[in-house]
Subunit: 427 residues, 2 copies
Amino acid sequence: MTDRTTHDTARTTATYRVETAEDVTKVAELMAGEQSSGTFVDVPGETDALRERHAARVESITEQETVAEPSLPGASSPSEGADSPYTRADVEISYPIENTGTSLPNLLTTVAGNLYELWPLSGIRLVDIALPEAFAAANPGPQFSVEGTRDLVGVHDRPLIGTIVKPNVGLTPAETADVVEAVVEAGVDFVKDDELIADPPYSPVHERVVAVMEVIDRHEAATGSRVMYACNITGTVDEMLERHDAVKDAGGNCVMVSLHSVGLAAVQTLRAEADLPIHGHRNGWGALSRCPQLGFNYEVWQKFWRLAGIDHLHVSGLRNKFTESDESVIRSAKAVQRPIAATDDVAMPVFSSGQWADQAPDTYEALGNCDLLYLAGGGILGHPDGPGAGVAHLKQGWEAAVRGIPLEEYAEDHEELGTALAFYGKR
Amino acid sequence: MTDRTTHDTARTTATYRVETAEDVTKVAELMAGEQSSGTFVDVPGETDALRERHAARVESITEQETVAEPSLPGASSPSEGADSPYTRADVEISYPIENTGTSLPNLLTTVAGNLYELWPLSGIRLVDIALPEAFAAANPGPQFSVEGTRDLVGVHDRPLIGTIVKPNVGLTPAETADVVEAVVEAGVDFVKDDELIADPPYSPVHERVVAVMEVIDRHEAATGSRVMYACNITGTVDEMLERHDAVKDAGGNCVMVSLHSVGLAAVQTLRAEADLPIHGHRNGWGALSRCPQLGFNYEVWQKFWRLAGIDHLHVSGLRNKFTESDESVIRSAKAVQRPIAATDDVAMPVFSSGQWADQAPDTYEALGNCDLLYLAGGGILGHPDGPGAGVAHLKQGWEAAVRGIPLEEYAEDHEELGTALAFYGKR
């Protein structure tokens, strides 16, 4: 990533990793032109004054490696005899805020719109973005962030330990409540719906949330601990607002949304009306990110959703069961925890997928804090001594991580952790 | 594409092109499990009855070529000694409608969510989708479609010929109106904002649309022809609804939205409230489509937006200045024109990028109809005899195409076409 030595209050700077058979400087100028005042033909009204006010500007070009084959099809081919066929480069382009104001949807069109299809680009990935402070001032950001979320569950000194209701589809509201009861009694701080269940005919939100919150209320009355339930309200805007209110009316304390399925503008409306934390599920993210020379880095993507107001953002987890590398997971989590304009505009990263105590020390070491949600399925339900021991081993694993004690050592006088190390460790 | 011999009214069938180093049958089962009742661990509540009702089902697997290297990083590697390292296959998976109801956002999460990151997949693209009729019954579809759009401009026997206001950013409302006046006088049927201008401080929608519609009203009074102006209202939901009303109050006849920037749920709200055709801009589409082994085919993508209610959908154009092949452009346009459940649920494909008369015969031959918008920039403004001749040559080109007369022959007694062939043809 390129360092920036100046901070421009009036321009957004986007960094792209490009790949091209053409001259990189010309390609960068083409990108800047296409995404601001340019077109394929000369236009009479494009005066110098207009360009001065509105043109995007190439700020820097840092050439990287060359490659023999294009990463993406359809782009122009190298001219005959060229000895470095495709050049990769980091290109910084700045855009005047005047072109979009502080509108997030229109910023997205500007920095990540048609340029994905520009003819010379056999690779084009948006890897970083630096925004004028006006964006943070004009957009709400997370309403609850870390402290607000922690206050709702009364847990301040460790990650929120959570799980996902399974089976992920097919349970009635009453069956869902039974599953929630089991994990709540096991000691989780947080439980969420799977992304595959929102408001199907067999489990409407307004029935499910009532059934689940009865369990959570009862548990609070007995123990003093209030578990957070992220109820999946994904749907149309009207449906989401109505479901949010149903969750709130039932005493619920979190709503979940599949971000790509509803989109940025719907999330903005939900945030404007919401009184509860918004848990952002990233399903579909792989389509935008898995090709290394296309799409988005998470660092960029998460800024849009945080500015729009998401409180919790999924980042997968270390040694996950998906395709993402540990290094990428940590970069994502750090991005989510890095302030944009203020310390309370961070979101909580949500770690999940194959998580148990094993990943706690590495996760803590990489981040240096516990301001995260740590979700486990098999790591809780699969524990040989039952879900209660599953949750206990996760808490013990995080205690060890925070205190810098190796898991094996801490397990000597923490039985659930010891059992987990023996059981999960040899799988 | 795989043929389907049965039509299931209760299941959505999605076809994926996958690539994997694992056994394809097992991978297909994993996908079906992950996107319905499955998880990584055995779960007590996952009964046979639940699976029967809610499980996704692998309908067919058609193995394709093998490749030596994975298309995407992060997936599992072949076991040692395997002689066909990565197999590509078309996998059909069906999902019960009971899991999502007819909710488009939740359908999207189901067919195109977490599976993009599944560990065995070094390639995963959603290439086709067949929906139960209930989706078309429950979702509004385009309000205007072809005939409604044609009625608004009074053009029924040829494509709507249009252009985009350029420079695309920086013009004040009055300057925009001047540009519109020039192209309206040149004879276009349709003019639209660029996707890069929505409601910036220097050109608020409510001022711009008044200025532009004055020009269009004046032109109608003089000629009887009413030009359609697609005003870009992209923004938050509230902003879009307010801007839609401003457009309508000014006598406007179309609103434009950047689909990826606002998202599906916001478009659903706009459609529910709109009294005008919605022109859907696809900027950002490249990020979801350019890697052949990742993302979406346009055929799938456009169904979601049409069901949500978009009337016009961009498809690029033949011999365009972007990276898309002609074959792909035609497949997209045909998909947009293919009824889902009824003939009036089609949208109008919007052809643009480097278009002039040259592409008219091939476009017409491929589609067999003129139910499209044909947008030209240089093809109008760059004509040696001015924009009027530019528009005339486009109309002549389409007349020739529809009548099956070669352009060169038709140009013998159509001067503007002849001049265009001589001028653009040798560039």
